[in-house]
Symmetry: C4
Subunit: 246 residues, 4 copies
């Protein structure tokens, strides 16, 4: 709340948080719509950067019981600011990413089956075609395993730590998702909705990549020129995909 | 009905059985909702431990014809106590488990395709990630094959016998499901609903495990420290997943 | 119409055909409900044994345009007796089976994907578990390829001929379906509805069998004692599955 | 508009375009109905051959926001004639095909997962059974990779160019679809609806072919006599499938 004038801040913040609660609730429901979750195995959060407050799904609550009202608000150190339920058990992972990467506005964690299979296999998803290149500027990395100590102490924060370690030179927004080894995918975006979008992409691309290898075990990664072309026609300075240049 | 006073028991039992009939019917319907059954290839039961009465699906009746009223009530020796239909042909397997394991409150049997493939392959599902570790404290075992004599005589009871033989040191509730070789999965829980929940988990985990091996045939089982962490954060004395510690 | 008295026959036949038209139409619609067909790639027929008349789906008509009224009636030589549309292009295959096997009352042909993959691979589906054994008393056979001459002349009749050749010693009703090499499955039953049921079984079992081999390439066929047990507890003289012995 | 009399042309063209807009919109919606698209990853166009005007989906617009009215009309050089939105980023690929093949009346591009896996693998889909032979008179080809220069300059036109190069001797209408290497499938037909139909066929056949190879890695392509029989009974001069000869 650092840069607001005193008499405006409370109203503006309340409105922004109300809007963000709704966005985060909607994004959580969309996980189910896109068949990314079984039971409660997924969570979405979003951040209000001005106040540093994060809205996140409560832990272990079924999707049909979720509402904008029972989303939990925490600050960037993990203190609950609003809400009577426990926040997601993965909250510390979300916070580690928000604290490290100011570009991120929304985060998703799921156990979507095909992406999880790659995470369990401990393998990055290679960029094998334009579907992948339309969203990820290179492979979808897989983290190293956590050490026993990292698991025993601050496990969820350390999950964020190994994700941060694995972000490559292309930058966090040009590779908006990762596989945590022996666990499952995390994705992000500039807002919760975009993070969900990227969670769908990771799941679809994971399935295509496995089938591609089953057809041709010797396949190579996509021609870098084609990777550039597809990534940049959607995300580059001269992007011409969609209606954004109108 | 051993420990009830004479004038209270009949009413209380009738109410409990009515409630259990509804639970078991609902749990059977949920098998269909979760895409675990084709036709009538699945059944759920639940037990009222105080009376030792078991409510179970009738044999070979289609799901849309099921109701709380046509569930069959049997005692722990398999005698039909209430109901005009035959109980599930697998009733003796359910009873063997209820008789041996007093912790179990509900049992599910399905032929869900991915778990059945592992059962047909005669292979335990290894614990390859946290999705598995959130519910099963180690591999999902596969029984030995039944002998020809065990098949010819009391086949369904003997199916229960080989399940009981295969429960490892972690205990029946920390590994709430098993694969019967050349057959299909059985799962259980403290009530029928939890048994269905675990049937879904086994199916999802079975599919993920096959895909994991297809991506990386040399994959190892999950780090035991991570298995502990995930199982115990949901099921241990200091569990902090969900809202149960509130 | 051989054994009816002269003044009763026309009425009774009309009623039976009307009933059969409805059954066959419903069975065709059920192919779609069970996700066995893409577009018009499937057909069901049923026979009135007393008159020797067969009701079959018209060729290439979309499912939402089908009705009991536009089903086509043909005799056992393939002459259209009622109806203004062409009968299914596979009619001669259906007739070959009805003519050869008096036990059959309904026939289904689909290109359901997993069963079709086995047919294209030219491999019988081995009996790997009880799901299979509950319906098929041994493997689901795959025919030999048709010769060039058999393809050029009376192709659809010859498809029936190679199916008939491949029915093994267990008999046509104990193995109620087959894979036609490089083509797709045909199934049958005592009526159209049972033939559809068996088409679902073949598709599900085909998928399970492929996954089983992917988990364990050295798997053996099911223990014959277990095959017997499961087949006979549903279909034997002393069957005790379901409510039929009530 | 070459061969119309002056006073009729405007009215007739307006009516034809209005009809084509509706067809193209419906065909785009059908991509979703047939589960061929994730998000906006697909597009359909149709051409009015008399005027040389092409109706195509706008770029990056979600399916629920599409209408006949917001389809974009372009001429065969790619100039927007009607519409306020950007046309699909793949428009130049569509135009290359319309310009080269006068038989084509509708074109579809999707990233349907199983066909895309074959494209990413860089492999043609072999003709392994009659499902394939009912629509494609031989394999479904895969293009060569584009060169770096072809990617950098006029990428979308050059995608059309490599498709044109890969059309074999059977002709463009007897092989109504292709895989673009490292990218995804394109299909076509005499109108937009038929192009969608062929997009479904490519996806289904792609999945069947992978499973066939997993069951039998040594499988051969279909007997050419059987390929002929199935293709020609639907598409030959003496076709007898369906109701078209009535």
């Amino acid at each position: 709340m650092s840069e607001q004038t005193l008499w405006q801040a409370p109203v503006a913040l309340a409105e922004r948080l109300s809007h963000l609660r709704h966005q985060v609730w909607q994004a959580n429901m969309d996980l189910q719509k896109h068949n990314l979750v079984t039971f409660t195995w997924g969570n979405v959060s979003g951040i209000d950067r001005e106040s540093g407050l994060v809205v996140i799904k409560p832990s272990g609550v079924e999707y049909h019981q979720l509402s904008a009202e029972n989303m939990v608000v925490v600050d960037l150190r993990g203190q609950v600011v609003e809400g009577t339920l426990n926040p997601s058990s993965d909250t510390a992972t979300h916070l580690a990413l928000y604290n490290h990467f100011p570009e991120i506005g929304g985060i998703v964690h799921t156990h979507s089956p095909q992406a999880t299979a790659w995470a369990q296999a401990g393998r990055a998803i290679p960029a094998l075609g334009t579907t992948h290149a339309d969203y990820f500027y290179g492979q979808i990395a897989c983290t190293r395993a956590l050490s026993d100590i990292e698991i025993a102490q601050d496990y969820e924060s350390n999950t964020g730590k190994v994700i941060i370690e694995s972000i490559g030179d292309v930058g966090v927004m040009a590779s908006p998702g990762i596989l945590v080894k022996e666990h499952a995918p995390f994705t992000w975006g500039k807002n919760p909705n975009q993070a969900v979008h990227n969670a769908v992409v990771v799941e679809v691309v994971a399935g295509m990549a496995l089938q591609t290898l089953q057809i041709n075990a010797d396949v190579h990664s996509i021609n870098p020129a084609l990777l550039d072309k597809h990534y940049l026609r959607k995300h580059g300075a001269n992007a011409y995909y969609g209606q954004t240049n109108k």
